[in-house]
Amino acid sequence: MKIVTAIIKPFKLDEVRDALTALGVHGLTVTEVKGYGRQKGHTEIYRGAEYAVSFLPKLKIEVAVASELVDKTIDAITTTARTGQIGDGKIFVSPLERAIRIRTGEKDADAL
């Protein structure tokens, strides 16, 4: 199993979620994050003071999937989350050794 972590633009969430459900991914976890990268931020001016805001609001999506589903998952996310502009985000894949469903105690594949 793998944990697929994607950093995306906030307004893309619903599309990505739908694409993943279509794949048969039954669940995911979303976190509001701030991203720093190539994408330029904006400046805010309060009376005298100017602030360069380089951290931009992004969403982090974490999906635990069976290894064989990883590629499909990546495709689904890339296609739906892409706008073609700087700041679209990243996808990271890390190993997942075990998964447990708290309610039932089911393990690994059954837990997803």
């Binding site: 805010e44 309060y46 005298g48 602030y51 805001v53």
Partner: protein
């Protein structure tokens, strides 16, 4: 709190036979009674000024600090209001508006400690001979001014002063700086007394009768606050015009704030870390309530509900609108974007500037005043502040002191009838509806004197008091506490637990 009756006011009074009838006895020395309308307006005005402090000012300031210091601003503001309410009742009113006897030009007396001798039937004079309001109404209206003035100061050293220091400073500052200053500027003569004496003079047949009456008049005019009466030699008896408190409230608080900001030092991270306002929504609510409440502050300062009250109301409306718009447009032109913070800062600057002029200028004069005050203040809060590098966190100096000075000077000009102003009044001139003589040069000298006197008295005095407070309880919390935020460090609470 104007200490001269505007001619238009008199005019409107003289006009109404009914009122004259009621006014007449006053000249004969009988006690006039308060009208329900004036009483209703003064009580409404008093609660409006309270609303300016809490929640108005507290939110305007609170929205501009970082989340971790939100409660410290709210607590300081509310606590200062409560504290001043108690001090004002015990001795503040007496020191400000009591009879100072021989020292009366400099300070009130102890004759009204704990409201001694005041009851529900006691009255206070207004600016229209023959009119009075319940003294309790006058007492509480003035109390609300004493509440908001020290609260204005805290914006300058926001996010970095100990609560205990703020409270102690407030006690000392109000006692030593505010109460005397209020007396200097607002310690005025009872119009009824002047008019009665002037009537005697007119009626006097014999020489000594004339002399006696004249002496009486002189005595009355001499026993007033020195700024109000123009008693400094170079003022030649021309007092400064300050309708609702440009000097006593705004210049006074503004300079005290600047001195405090410098003496307590910059906030940790100032200039390096970004410190954006944590909730402009709150600042907008605050600014709006300040505007709404300010009508009590300015129009209430006429102490009656008449045509002049309506004029002060209109001026407050027009100057604020113009100043808000002017700041917005200036910023749009200069910085490229019109911001809400700019808009509301401009509105507040306009309110401050029109305060001393509100009952003297005409609406068009106020419109112009509003348009010019914003660029001036914007220049100070952006350029001047950065140039000198002091950390006047919420721009108390840039907006209140600078705006107050602009207004105080402008008042000397805008009162001129040629500029649509209402002109000067002289209660001894009962023949021509108390028409007084306006001389620009003398009037400007009076205005400038009031400004400088306030800057010196409050600036130097505050510096000393900060030192004293620092020695007694210390001004500043430990760096870690400041970093954690005053809410948790000083008050053990957090503003939001979403």
């Amino acid at each position: 709190m104007m200490f001269r009756l505007t001619r238009s006011a008199v005019a409107s009074i003289i006009a109404g036979a009914a009122v004259l009838a009621q006014a007449a006895p006053a000249f004969a020395g009988n006690a006039p009674t308060p009208s329900a309308g004036d009483t209703a307006w003064m009580l409404t005005s008093s609660l409006l000024v309270l609303m300016m402090s809490v929640p108005g000012l507290a939110l305007f300031y609170g929205g501009l600090v970082r989340t971790k210091n939100m409660l410290s601003i709210l607590t300081q503001t509310f606590a200062i209001v409560a504290l001043m309410g108690v001090l004002w009742t015990i001795y503040g009113y007496s020191l400000s508006f009591g009879d100072g006897g021989p020292l009366n030009s400099y300070i009130g007396g102890f004759n009204k400690l704990f409201l001694k001798g005041v009851d529900a039937s006691s009255t206070a004079p207004t600016f229209t001979p023959g009119h009075v309001i319940p003294e309790y109404a006058y007492f509480v209206f003035q109390m609300t001014f004493a509440m908001i003035t020290p609260a204005l100061i805290i914006g300058a050293f926001a996010e970095r002063m100990k609560f205990s220091a703020v409270m102690l400073f407030t006690v000392l500052w109000s006692t030593i700086i505010y109460f005397p200053l209020a007396h200097w500027v607002w310690g005025v003569a009872d119009p009824n007394a002047i008019v009665d004496a002037a009537t005697e003079l007119a009626a006097a047949g014999t020489e000594e009768a004339k002399k006696a009456a004249q002496d009486k008049i002189d005595g009355i005019l001499a026993s007033v606050g020195w700024i109000a009466g123009g008693l400094a030699p170079w003022m030649k008896g021309t007092g400064a015009l300050d309708f609702a408190g440009g000097t006593v409230v705004h210049i006074n608080a503004g300079i005290a704030g600047l001195v405090g900001a410098i003496m307590v030092g910059k906030r940790i991270g100032h200039g390096r870390e970004a410190m954006p306002p944590h909730a402009l929504t709150m600042s907008m609510i605050g600014a709006s309530l300040l505007w709404v409440g300010w009508f009590g502050f300015n129009a209430g300062s006429n102490l009656e509900a008449n045509g002049t009250t309506a004029l002060a109301f209109v001026n407050t409306m027009v100057a604020t609108a113009a100043a808000g718009l002017s700041w917005l447009l200036t910023e749009w032109a200069v910085k490229g974007k019109p911001s809400l913070l700019g808009l509301i800062s401009g509105a507040v600057a306009g309110l401050v500037a029109v305060t001393p002029a509100s009952g003297f200028a005409g609406p068009v004069g106020s419109l112009v005043l509003g348009l010019i005050v914003s660029p001036i203040c914007l220049f100070f809060v952006s350029k001047v502040k950065n140039f000198f590098g002091y950390d006047d966190a919420l721009d108390v100096f840039g907006v209140h002191c600078i705006g107050g000075i602009t207004g105080a000077i402008a008042t000397g000009l805008l009162v001129a009838p040629e500029l649509g102003g209402v002109g000067i009044t002289d209660y001894t001139n009962i023949g021509e509806n108390f028409a007084g003589k306006y001389v620009m040069s003398t009037q400007m000298i009076a205005q400038i004197t009031a400004v400088i006197a306030t800057l010196l008295w409050s600036g130097i005095g505050s510096a000393i008091l900060y030192k004293v407070v620092d020695a007694l309880v210390g001004l500043r919390p430990a760096p870690d506490q400041e970093r954690e935020g005053l809410d948790i460090a000083e008050h053990g609470e957090r503003a939001y637990n979403y």
